[in-house]
């Protein structure tokens, strides 16, 4: 199948859309990582009120479809701000992704923290290592190792969820693919091209995560070998 000049133009649009998709996914993921790490640690504090609020909040956010959250911020956000500031689809999508995936990351961090044996904390304390040093050198590397597979999963889901933001009018990869498919009557070319993008990035992610897992599995991988 040959690609015409107009189709080449659409591919350029597609590439521009892909950049926006990546910007949204990467910034959303990084902010969710930071937010999730902080929220995960704070909600582990032995405080009943924090625990109770967290349980309710987390179950609400995880129970609602991401698309609804995106719409909520896009259509509701502007109204909330009194219509003074217009919220762009990118801002609404980013906010929604961060709000939703902060909760998932936080749950993951909480689970990983609970799986670091108590003896690890006690050993650092008995060695007069202060909490910050203990956290950085002993606890965090083990939390990261335990959380890594889940964090990789979340990255893949965030990447795919960016497609939902096209429904709020974001000109991302998927929206450009839809436009091009409609205009050229060649749905297969453009949708498959868009799908390929996601597949390639997932593959890259898996390669990269395998290296990270080897890095953080240091000391445990050798035992199996």
């Amino acid at each position: 199948m040959l690609i015409s000049a107009s189709e080449a133009g659409y591919f350029q649009q597609l590439a521009r859309g892909a950049v926006i998709t990546m910007e949204l996914a990467v910034s959303g993921y990084i902010l969710a990582l930071i937010g999730g790490a902080v929220v995960g640690l704070v909600t582990l504090l032995p405080n009943r009120a924090i625990q109770a609020v967290w349980r309710v909040y987390a179950s609400i956010v995880m129970g609602v479809p991401s698309l609804l959250v995106i719409f909520l911020f896009y259509y509701g956000g502007g109204t909330l701000l009194g219509g003074i500031i217009d919220i762009t689809p990118f801002e609404a999508g980013l906010t929604a992704l961060v709000v939703v995936y902060t909760v998932y990351v936080a749950e993951l961090v909480r689970g990983a923290m609970r799986n670091v044996p108590r003896g690890q904390f006690e050993a650092t304390a008995a060695l007069a290592i202060r909490p910050v040093g203990a956290w950085l050198h002993v606890i965090m590397p083990q939390v990261v190792r335990l959380a890594l597979p889940g964090l990789v999963n979340i990255w893949m889901i965030v990447l795919k969820d960016t497609a939902l933001v096209s429904l709020a009018g974001l000109n991302d990869l998927v929206s450009h693919a839809k436009t091009a498919a409609g205009a050229t009557k060649e749905p297969f070319i453009f949708f498959i091209a868009a799908a390929l993008f996601f597949v390639v990035f997932s593959a890259v992610t898996l390669r990269f995560s395998a290296r990270l897992e080897a890095r953080f599995g240091r000391g445990l991988a050798v035992a199996k070998a």
Binding site: G119, L127, R130, L220
Partner: protein, 249 residues
């Protein structure tokens, strides 16, 4: 530190500890002189671990006093740090850091808690690993070692802080019989070097050879304290007699 009456290594007076409503330690009095080796034994749940964990503040106590080398063990975090620098601890489950090599396990506390330079910490770590006869494994990870080897590394790791007192909480209880000996030998060498030690253990041979005094605990109380010979040959209380007859058969 030097002077007229030598300061006891550890002074415990009127110590009480509660877990919620449960009275885990009941008015414990115990003084440990420098260089003394104390063996603590008693049935499960009698409060042995709780007692030694109060000494380095892994557990806060509720009333009474604990003084370690003149330092009051209380809420003050600077005191807690100071005490932990004087007191090394070895756990039943080793608690080595799985993601660090043997050498790195031993270097971490000197570097973080004492601010030691890397090269110096490395030399120190290697010296103590050699001392527990495991120097040639320095580059391995904990998971690559046997239980006995791991426990010896844990001892070296604690020694790297050059503590004046060592606490052992059932250091051989999770080891296979053939590995118990190598760990006890290292502990005996340490005792011979004059280290002040409190060992929770049911290794009665070790107690007879090494202990200056033996402490028998039951239900959160110290029931009997005696020199090793008297402890084993002439127990005064029925509870200790019953315990010894159980454990020696």
């Amino acid at each position: 530190m030097s002077g007229t009456a030598p300061l006891p290594a550890i002074m415990i007076a009127g110590l009480d500890k509660f877990y919620g409503g449960f009275h885990a330690l009941k008015h414990i009095d115990l003084e440990v002189r420098r260089g003394e080796k104390i063996v603590v034994c008693g049935p499960s749940g009698s409060g042995k671990s709780t007692l030694i964990r109060c000494i380095n503040r892994l557990e806060p106590h509720d009333s009474g006093r604990i003084v370690v080398n003149g330092i009051d063990v209380n809420d003050a975090s600077s005191n807690i740090q100071d005490v932990r620098r004087e007191v090394g601890m070895v756990f039943q489950s080793f608690n080595l850091f799985p993601h660090l090599t043997i050498l790195e396990n031993c270097m971490l506390a000197p570097r973080l808690a004492l601010g030691m330079k890397k090269a110096e910490a490395e030399r120190l770590a290697q010296r103590f690993l050699d001392r527990v006869h495991i120097g040639e494994q320095a580059a391995k990870f904990p998971a690559q070692l046997s239980g006995g080897q791991q426990q010896r590394v844990a001892i070296a790791r604690a020694l790297c802080m050059e503590p004046r007192i060592m606490l052992f909480d059932e250091p051989t209880s999770s080891l296979d019989p053939e590995m118990i000996k190598e760990v006890l030998e290292v502990m005996e060498e340490l005792a011979d070097d004059g280290m002040t030690m409190i060992c929770v253990t049911h290794e009665m041979g070790f107690a007879r050879r090494v202990a200056s005094r033996c402490v028998f605990m039951d239900q959160g109380e110290i029931v009997e304290i005696a020199e090793a010979a008297a402890f084993f040959e002439a127990p005064r209380s029925d509870r200790l007699r019953a315990f010894l007859s159980q454990i020696l058969h």
